[in-house]
Symmetry: C2
Subunit: 438 residues, 2 copies
């Protein structure tokens, strides 16, 4: 967790919007993305304030050179970029900081180029990597407990929960970035008659999660040791694991969720790098008395001390009526990544512990991140107690589950005294009707 | 299910081993594979008797022309080949039949080429497609019932089973073809103390399945109608869904199997095409009185009449000691693909019913195919009642679960009066120790 000059909060950018204390993308963030620019090419891009730097073009024109240029030189998705050794990604970060800092001798050249520093509207952001696989964990213990409570009042998490970072394979091919609408799925809904009917989902939900990307892969048969696991995590995003609760309830015994999840997952487009997040690492969730110590393959002092993450998370809802009335999105809940029972390193080490390989660019989700308080529950299932206590919006509308036209936004922000706050950018999608499915 | 001249059992090949009644690969089969030949190139290959035809080379040299040549002209995996419309794959089949039939004017040219018709040892067979996703179903009702019985004597399948083609996403990145060894996984094993220990799996099992490949894909939001679904199935293979029963039992509540499956899956390397299997289609499993009729999106008269498959399946075991003593593999069980409760078309239609996309080359597994008789149970879990009644091998060795050095082979063969029998080729792998994981 060595901090360096790139984390210095006093450094400012010549891109003025990057110096706004409210921006998600100050000079200290510099998240990586994959974008299609006005010329049609797909390249590595970097968010800075309200603008986007085409890093591939900066390398091609010599404004980035050496290791930094090598890292971003190839076009296409970020799988190859994220697979680079940590010190090379750090070198890129240093070079980008120098380039975008006030006083940079290259500021004029970048501005004058006309194609290198772009308005957000000029860039189509794509999924950062070709996501070869998407594994979703269940590491939010308050979520796991709340879900158990809804099924069995007073119920706790299962006996394996405190030993196993539980996960399932999810659908990589239906992950899309913020801004794409999400079609309500159709599926088998169990009716009071005891028989199912094929119909549009009536209990469409979001799940507030974070995602993280595998950087350096893991070979089959070569598990990643817990002490090394953080080095395989290249960066983080926000992740909305859309869930059809009615389909899920009926289909999931005994092999887990399938169609209730596979229709869509939304991620924020920016990879907030492990380097940028260094000031915001936190202790792993402490184990209370009676809770088991992690097994040795999941137990590392450094991971216990600083393997967690401190990220303030929130979920916002804007209904069709609110949009028509010009109202802003309403805050539904706040939570924090500190509420994860397992660290990213523990999840990644566990994933490889059976000999399973990981590829650069693979996506791992944390599972829903709920907190202990009633206004920290990270899904409508929990927040509305399965629609028994609908959420009331500022305009009087209520929601048990989502309706067509609802726009859901996840936000995440890292705040720590003495450091510049950084954010993830929005993870937003609007619910479209299931009409095309029927 | 229109049969044509390519199914005529009287046609013979000038490749004499293709005329052996015992061969899996007579002229009437012509399965497609992806192989690396002696020159190092990766190309579409075809099994004929004991030999392998480099179809890409046949196209490049003009021996295949027109549509057939276009289909196999690109090098690399078969994703693009299988995505072709059915009539183009049928045209390829006709062209290959003509080329390899006795009396073909090109026989001498093929033989003389020296690089086009290869010994099996000259070709490294790869996974036929780049497997973007691997979804595993649970469509063998006798398996589902046997597993329930082991957990709860007298137990039946769950209430959703007869309505929902149950499935889960499995791990595409660890699927490998026959011949690669499979490393025993390590993982959390629950001990009698009530606490888990991280150790090599002690209950390693096989699962007898079939797999099928998506040909033409399905766009997100455009479900495939049940009446069209068979047209999206390009071909079939055998599939061993290796399972670590001890890891599985402990990890799988509530989200399903994860590390107990993700370490390895073995498939037979040949894609036995939907065309080749036409004579061996069978009625869907009839629903008994009291069993529900499939919901409309899974119900099609043609699928009910001929959407099933008749494939004789068997599993063979050869231990290290048997190999040392020169003994042949021992038959463990026989089963048949007729014992699937859901047809491939139903599985594929269900998969897309929520709007989920499918890509050409995606792999779908059927789930374990057990039959109703005690010697038709498709895994050791069932066959040995969870090691309570170990299987006794001809040399007196016993097996509750698999030991290191055990070689497991799945075989599949289609037999019908008036037709040439065709087979799938072996799906074989040997269990290696977990040493590298610890």
């Amino acid at each position: 967790m060595t901090l360096d000059g790139t984390h210095d909060p006093d450094r400012r950018s010549w891109v003025e919007t990057a110096n706004d204390p409210e921006t998600d993308f100050p000079l200290q963030n510099l998240p990586l993305g994959c974008g299609r620019g006005p010329g049609g090419g797909v390249t590595t891009v970097v968010a800075i304030g309200e603008l986007i730097l085409d890093a591939g073009r900066a390398a091609a024109t010599g404004l980035l050179d050496g290791t930094a240029a090598e890292v971003v030189r190839e076009s296409g998705r970020l799988n190859g970029v994220l697979a680079r050794p940590g010190h090379e990604l750090t070198a890129l970060r240093h070079a980008l900081t120098t380039l975008l800092e006030r006083g940079s001798p290259h500021a004029a050249a970048i501005r004058d180029d006309g194609q290198m520093l772009l308005e957000a509207e000029q860039v189509q952001l794509l999924t950062p990597t070709e996501i070869g696989s998407f594994t979703d964990f269940f590491a939010g213990i308050y979520h796991a407990r709340a879900v158990s409570e809804i099924l069995v009042p007073g119920g706790d998490v299962g006996p394996n929960y405190r030993w196993v970072p539980i996960a399932y394979q999810s659908r990589a091919g239906t992950v899309s970035v913020s801004g794409h609408r999400v079609r309500r799925p159709a599926g088998q809904l169990l009716r009071p008659s005891g028989q199912p009917e094929f119909a549009p989902c009536e209990m469409l939900d979001f799940e507030l999660e974070m995602g993280f990307y595998v950087g350096a892969g893991a070979e089959a048969g070569r598990p990643v040791a817990i002490a090394d696991a953080d080095r395989h995590v290249a960066g983080f995003c926000l992740l909305n694991d859309w869930s059809a609760r009615d389909i899920q309830r009926w289909e999931m015994a005994p092999l887990g969720p399938f169609l209730s999840k596979s229709f869509a997952t939304t991620i924020s487009p920016w990879v907030v790098t492990a380097d940028a997040l260094k000031p915001f690492r936190a202790p792993a969730m402490p184990r209370a008395g009676g809770e088991p110590r992690p097994l040795p393959y999941l137990d590392d002092p450094q991971d216990q001390a600083a393997g967690g993450l401190s990220v303030q998370l929130s979920v916002w809802l804007c209904t069709e009526r609110m949009r028509a009335d010009g109202e802003p999105p309403a805050l539904l809940l706040r939570s924090d990544a500190r509420h994860l029972y397992w660290t990213p390193a523990q999840m990644l080490a566990h994933h490889t512990s059976n000999g399973c390989s990981l590829q650069p660019g693979d996506l791992l989700g944390t599972g829903t991140i709920s907190g202990p308080a009633p206004d920290e529950l990270g899904s409508l299932l929990e927040l509305t107690e399965d629609a028994r206590r609908p959420a009331v919006l500022p305009n009087g509308e209520t929601r048990g589950y989502l309706q067509d036209g609802d726009e859901v936004t996840l936000a995440g922000r890292c705040v720590r005294d003495g450091f510049a706050s950084i954010g993830f950018g929005p993870c937003t999608a609007t619910v479209a009707s299931a009409d095309s499915l029927l």
